[in-house]
Assembly symmetry: C2
Homo-oligomer: 488 residues x 2
Amino acid sequence: MNRIAPPLPFPPALRTLQDRLARSALAQEGRVRQPGTFASWFAGARERSDLRVDRVDLGDLRDWDRDPRTGALRHSSGGFFAIDGLDVRSPSGPVPHWQQPIIHQPEVGVLGLLAKEFDGVLHFLMQAKVEPGNRNHLQLSPTVQATRSNYLRLHKGRAVPYLEYFQERTRHHVVADVLQSEQGAWFFRKRNRNIVIEVTEDIAVQEDFRWLTLGEIYRLLAVEDIVNMDTRTTLSCLPLAGGGLDRLMDTGDGFRDALARSCAGGEGGVHSIDELQSWITEHRAQGELTTRPVPLNELRDWHVSPERISHTSGRFFSVIGVNVSAGTREVGGWSQPMLEPHGTGVIAVLVKEIDGVLHVLLRASVEPGYLDGVELSPTVQFTPESVPPGTDRPRFVDAVLSAPPERVRFACLLSEEGGRFHHALNRYLVVEADGDAGLTEDRDFRWLTLHQLSTLLRHSHYLNVQARSLVACLHSLLAPGPGGTPGR
Amino acid sequence: MNRIAPPLPFPPALRTLQDRLARSALAQEGRVRQPGTFASWFAGARERSDLRVDRVDLGDLRDWDRDPRTGALRHSSGGFFAIDGLDVRSPSGPVPHWQQPIIHQPEVGVLGLLAKEFDGVLHFLMQAKVEPGNRNHLQLSPTVQATRSNYLRLHKGRAVPYLEYFQERTRHHVVADVLQSEQGAWFFRKRNRNIVIEVTEDIAVQEDFRWLTLGEIYRLLAVEDIVNMDTRTTLSCLPLAGGGLDRLMDTGDGFRDALARSCAGGEGGVHSIDELQSWITEHRAQGELTTRPVPLNELRDWHVSPERISHTSGRFFSVIGVNVSAGTREVGGWSQPMLEPHGTGVIAVLVKEIDGVLHVLLRASVEPGYLDGVELSPTVQFTPESVPPGTDRPRFVDAVLSAPPERVRFACLLSEEGGRFHHALNRYLVVEADGDAGLTEDRDFRWLTLHQLSTLLRHSHYLNVQARSLVACLHSLLAPGPGGTPGR
């Protein structure tokens, strides 16, 4: 069951971070004495959570105002977020011109993960957290998941637990700390701070928090709708790359070995990182997509009713309103607008072993909300219900959806962020490609190694949030057991 | 005179790029047979250039319109650039709220440098190019320096020479290719593509072009107002870092050796690159500076006259108009608005040897035109004439301006881009710091190695254009001769 090596005879600082992350990824059982099992802890949190979400007319949202001129939805404090209209032109795209509602959230939030070594194995302090948009309400979130308005307590609620570790970083070891984008189709230039801090001091663990190894989190990632988006993006920024990953290799499982070599890096990428950056620069320099603000209540092709703002075709998403009451959140109850996507999306990467190293096929894509124009997205990122009639389905959809089970290495239904999106479910897939890898590249697609993805993830603006989720899913396949077997 | 090593017995591909760049930096004489000397070639170009620049009222700019509602200045083609108004709030800055004119240039231009090896030494194809804003009209520019409007020939002018090498890159070796910002106080989110391409094929050299080694360019960088801003930023992106710089070390000159070790990298930085990125992320996450567009003709504290738009205090800059006629440009004549700064600025870095490795003191700074909020700027970047009365001069101004001559390692008057700025001169300085390096850091300042700067320069949004100019100046001090002696 537990294949990790015995405790090492030297202190953490003398082993590389990469080796210590690999060790945690292989640890399928925690080394901390904690009450009950994960399942009993999570069930307890669900019982305590007591979340209630009711639909409400947009005009009846408490503490939210509609701008009399533009119809924009804003919180009366001036904080949190706002929803307004956007006009988008993308002359060479499949849809050259459209308008849509979009969320403005200029403040940078914190997605913070606290790490600590117990018995020689890194553990991460996870939170069982309710969000109104989650179908199942409770999911596994990072230690801290807070907008600036949250932690400045604009809602006059309770303090955010453990926030101080991410604000006073000098005493601790910063493992990752980078601003990353969120959904560019729904947010206008939103970024969150993805930050992982390792501490050595004792931490008092509150009721809804629990230490888990990477291996434990990776195993939960394959369970439908448990590990939330904020956890996935934060995990993706862990430097699980470079030297020190030796213990992940030579497992005798060809796929896992190719994946471990892809993370370890060195030679073996079909493109150098310089070539890949030049390819991204080329796409950014074209910069064809332009946006301008337009009033929310004058959006072409969108219908405003008391309950919702929806596209006249019924496609894409609606803006809706909810009343929320919760026992365990910082405040007891609040109202807010949310985006409700129509249909379940497919978010998938094709992967392929090339010269013994697993490569991932990514796309240079434009979305109206990206700050820097172009980010890398999964091979396929689409919602069948949202494809306008008369337009082609995106490339590689069939290669992904018709793959035989033994080539589907990861498949799980997961939610996007439940604080802004209502029941935003996507089927995340890692699919082994068939045929000649060379034939799949064109102007928009390139094969990258996991090591190259980790290199890019040290900076902002390179991988979109969907691609980052899939990096976490790919890393999860390094672990043995159910995570490592095909077709799970 | 010429200290470079004899030609190596193996082909270029087997030597590292870093070694080849170091070799070119040490080559103070070219290896290409070219007519005349640099001086005679440059003088010839000046005679041919025949540029004439006349001031003209803003209302009389040919092909430029003023928006009837906002007063914004726009080219009638819709291309090139526009000047409009911006409202800036920076609550914790020395000036918490102001308004100003700003240049909008959403298209990404190309700053392209063509490299080729002759007799084992890399040479770069430089252009003698006139720009209306240059005090001396003619300066040394990269091979290609063109906005998208230029090269799409919106002005119906001549084609841009050598542009095809940067558009069809697959046949050539991409040495650097990254979007970089320009002056964040004057441009709103402008970026140019800094791209260096190495070719092996024969190139027909046009009259106003000439092959120079890095050593030759570096020597010219110390001559007042010859090497233009676009050359400096492109040079700064050359990966003159990492292994292969051995030939630059052990010269017996302590400063040069510390500089070479700083470029070579490895251990020796007082901060790790992860710590530095976390520091930048921290500043970006604060994100206090906000901007919004305002009409140019309603700017608070700015006065609009037929000849100019100026601040009522007389500080900062004016918007002026010019008529230009030129023999050697793509078009024979045109009109345009320009920004005319008031006063000569000081742009300086303090440097210090720490444990044998030269470090550069940079500042995390906000300017309204940065796309990603914060970039690293030189230790000092200010114009004495623009400091509002009652506000303090920036930190370290006295340390820079009162340094004895033997601690001034580089000092040269250089221009900002002459296509948009009229006589925008700054005194660029590299000054050795006195006293304890530890005392100089605070929330905003950090000591970085040249290797760390080169690592950051592979990505957008890290170093501002003034800091990039100083990186080129610092690299120039690697070369022997006048460039390497103190107090030149």
